[in-house]
């Protein structure tokens, strides 16, 4: 089971002077159970790409398959199948807290499951579960207005609103943008937990190479609407030329290790997480 993009092309405002090709024949597969990050310069087509994953944007050419179902159903039966396939992909937008609208946290999170046509008891159960998943206590927060919360908490509520629909795939578009370091750290741990404990397949757009190195297994690099490279995070970060051409920087720890190596220390310059870096330094200095 996977999400598959086949020759997906997307053109903004076709046949006007503002026409722009945002995606150009993108082919990729996101396997179930994987943690995939998408990186690339601003305007490289990352956000456009992820909006295809649950059919919010319809490709100008090519097709998107979720678990083998084309998201663009032709006849009625295919449309219903496509609708169910789209429900499998939860989507968390940039600054997701701007989508909150209800009077209480509970009501807002319940919006998605209610639209799925679930009964009240089931909805309540899902809200409770989703709130615990993102680390908000159901008892304390369910009757609070979402607009009385801090920015980080509001974003958690928004993510819970998506999780309550129990998607198989979770797409997050720069989920940590604009959060303070602590909020960011908490959110990243939450996402990691969702992946490890709850087996959610995660697609994650980010500008932070540190977050990508720490969390993701696979990395897709976008450049000018094209899929420039795809591979494991270690592979991509090891390709210095690719990073330079696409305007990405390797994670800070990797830069440090590379400089140490240049200075003559026999450290492992392919370490992409602080933990791996520390491990390598320990070995070099024989510290246990």
């Amino acid at each position: 089971m996977s999400i598959e993009l086949k020759d997906v092309t997307y053109v903004y405002m076709p046949k006007t002077p503002y026409e722009r090709v945002a995606l150009d024949k993108v082919n990729l597969t996101i396997e179930e159970g994987s943690f995939t990050a998408i990186a690339g310069h601003t305007g490289s087509g990352k956000s456009t790409l992820v909006q295809h994953l649950n059919g919010l944007l319809v490709p100008s050419a090519g097709e998107v398959l979720v678990d083998g179902v084309n998201l663009l159903g032709k006849d009625k039966a295919a449309k219903i199948k496509a609708w169910h396939a789209r429900q499998q992909v939860g989507m968390v937008f940039q600054y997701a807290e701007t989508q909150l609208f209800e009077e209480t946290v509970e009501k807002d999170i319940a919006f998605g499951p209610q639209n799925q046509g679930l009964d009240e008891a089931e909805v309540q159960e899902r809200v409770r579960e989703a709130m615990e998943l993102v680390g908000l206590s159901y008892k304390d927060y369910k009757d609070v207005s979402p607009f009385a919360l801090s920015g980080g908490q509001m974003r958690r509520v928004a993510i819970a609103g998506v999780l309550a629909m129990r998607p198989k795939y979770l797409v997050l578009d720069e989920p940590a943008a604009g959060l303070d370091p602590r909020g960011r750290e908490e959110l990243m741990s939450t996402i990691q937990k969702l992946h490890k404990k709850w087996n959610l397949t995660i697609v994650f757009v980010s500008h932070s190479m540190e977050d990508i190195a720490r969390l993701a297994d696979n990395l897709l690099v976008m450049q000018a609407g094209k899929l420039r490279a795809a591979g494991t995070t270690a592979e991509i970060f090891a390709d210095a030329q690719l990073l330079q051409e696409t305007g990405l920087e390797p994670p800070q720890i990797m830069q440090i290790m590379q400089r140490l190596q240049k200075a003559g220390l026999p450290v492992d310059s392919s370490a992409i997480t602080p933990e791996a870096g520390l491990q390598s330094l320990r070995e070099v200095f024989h510290v246990k």
Binding site: Y12, T16, P17, Y18, L56, F93, Q99
Partner: protein
Amino acid sequence: MLNNIMIGQYFPGDSFLHRMDARVKILLLLILLIEVFAFTSAPVYLIMTVLTFLMIMISKVPMRMVLRSLKPLWWIILFTFVLHLFSHPGRELYRIWQFVITQEGVEQGALISVRLMLLIILSTLLTFTTSPLKLTDALESLLSPFKRLGLPAHELAMMMTIALRFIPTLISETDKIMKAQQSRGADFVTGSIMSRLKNMVPILVPLFLSAFRRADDLALAMEARCYRGGEGRTRMKEMKLGRLDYVAIGVFALFSAGLGVSYAL
């Protein structure tokens, strides 16, 4: 979903019409529209139509886009035409039960329909060739003589500029919120009118919130840069009449005089 809307439908270009002073364009358009009303006759409308197509060609705006601006008003034009068909007494052409189509009715209906189309196409040509910003600047300048009567020309223009500036922003915001709620299973397309209205709440609440926040931020940013109204304010782009504009005015005056004489004869 909403990204196919064009605001003020400005079509960037570098034609004669694009380079003309916006104030001159507005004034000439006004006079031209008055002439369309004043000289209602078939030959004049024929000349006017030729002139209009000539201007579209000069402006290099694709004909298809100009004609598309007629689309929303298509039904009104058709309705007007049909109404005129039956409402003029005269030589009978065709009879449907009580209603009589007359020769005069057909002529009047055709004239009025052409008049409507001319009005729409000429006005859209102005917005096609003038950026919204230039348009508001021109309005401010044209309205400034009325300041003495207490008309806040600068403030009105500033309000319009800000509104225009934020329409695309709010549209992209709406688009994003709609997509977010659609991802949560919201349905804006099917259902009864009541349920569809109810479904607007998840869009409107976040949209208003963000609009108010943006308004607050903008007010603060303007105040931080010492904005205090139009008094003694200079501009980055001064509006000046060039040779082009005098030529346009001259040609237009000749054209109008010709029309007036030929109509009187």
